[in-house]
Amino acid sequence: MNSAVLINIARFFLLLAAQVLIFNNINFFGYLNPFPYVLFIILYPVNGNKPALLLASFLLGIIMDMFCNSGGVHAAASITLAYLRPTFFRFSFGVSYEYQTVKLNDKLTPERFSFLLISTVTHHFILFILETFRLNFFFNILIQTIFSTIFTIIVSIIIIYLFKPSKR
């Protein structure tokens, strides 16, 4: 238990640092950035402390907002993802997900991929809606959500495979 807490704290800071230092500066095609910091919320232990996850997501989002000058956009998207996470688990892994030992940072199965996809899409859609905050840009929001999601998922899968716990 104790090591799980330490791993999550380390993940929090490493993902935040990687996001601010590297991934915020990619600007692919001039406007596309991946947001792999959502991996912190996605990889949080399934039966971990839920209020702690909410608070940690809020903190993560608000620090991102501070670096991006974007008000509370990242915070809102992050806590929504953290709150809806059990629903997405139920959708992807079946009703009794809490009794199975769901491990996310392992080989990519269709269930894991669908969970990653639905989480990222939700987060990015809320993020871009709030960031733009104008309905006449709705088409742009959709395009940006789709391409950023693809970008984030590719980067996330690479990160998961890079830091996969070694086989016993």
Binding site: N33, F58, M66, F67, C68, N69, G71, A76, I79
Partner: protein, 275 residues
């Protein structure tokens, strides 16, 4: 009473979520309104410090191009100086009025964003260096933006590539003025709206800042007209302007400190009070 406590304990998770969501929504809405008051910005010692550290490394990659820009600007200024009658004598300062009207603070962009519809830059000078909200920011090629929030050593700048940005601008050749906005699409182009159709705006004409604003002095370069078309709703011209600046690559900037501004603002406030 008991039931209220039971309700709170039973729904504590949901209530915590709603509370945090409310906080983020308030922050989001404030950030979208003009002159945000209590929003967390990157002009604080943590993010400002981080961006300054990153910038101190990454600026080495641009040293050559920055040097070239400085040489070109120096050459232009030398040309102006050598065309004076007496090169050792600086242009006259009106000694009765006593002061120059405009001061310049040198600063450096340590973080530049251009991927979202509302972009802000972070610069490495703040209140200590005399930077205040609503000062104009330019570089050697043209305008960059307006100072938004300040802290002790850093400030954020609302870039011209921001949907909220509204700057007074005019045609250099005919003094017809309009408002400079951005449509959120291309980082190389901004839009000048509400130009009267009497003005003979042509592709390639130069656009400069207008004299109506107390933030920018008159006649600072902005860009050239790329396309002219008529707005269907207002029947005025809308012009696509190609910026002189490459907003994705900005190094050193100058912050314009106008001495007239305080006087103008004071006067305007008094006028409003009397109404």
């Amino acid at each position: 009473m008991q039931q209220i406590f039971n309700f709170v304990f039973k729904n504590s998770h949901k209530l915590l979520f709603l509370l945090l969501l409310l906080i983020s929504f308030v922050l989001t809405i404030q950030s979208h309104s003009y002159h945000k008051s209590k929003v967390i910005s990157s002009a604080n010692f943590l993010s400002g410090g981080v961006y300054e550290k990153i910038n101190s490394i990454s600026e080495y990659f641009h040293l050559e191009s920055r040097n070239n820009e400085l040489i070109v600007e120096n050459a232009r200024l030398k040309m102006l100086l050598f065309n004076q009658k007496d090169t050792t004598k600086l242009p006259d300062i009106d000694t009765i009025k006593g002061v120059k009207k405009i001061n310049i603070i040198v600063s450096k962009v340590i973080h530049n964003a251009y991927s979202s519809p509302e972009n802000y830059l972070t610069i490495n000078s703040g209140v200590t260096q005399g930077v205040k909200t609503d000062m104009g920011v330019v570089n050697d090629l043209g305008i960059v933006g307006i100072v938004e929030k300040t802290s002790a050593n850093f400030a954020t700048v609302q870039s011209v590539l921001n949907l909220n940005s509204q700057i007074n601008a005019k045609l250099k050749k005919s003094n017809h003025f309009g408002t400079l906005t951005w449509n959120g699409k291309n980082t190389g182009y901004v839009q000048l709206i509400d130009i009267p159709r009497l003005s003979a705006a042509r592709k390639g004409d130069t656009i400069v800042t207008g004299g109506q604003s107390d933030i920018f002095p008159e006649n600072i370069g902005i860009g050239t007209i790329y396309k002219v078309y008529i707005d269907n709703e207002t029947n005025y011209y809308t012009l696509d302007i190609r910026l002189f600046n490459d907003m994705t690559n900005i190094g050193h900037v100058y912050i314009i400190k106008s001495k007239d501004r305080e006087e103008i603002l004071k006067l305007e406030n008094e006028t409003k009070k009397n109404e």
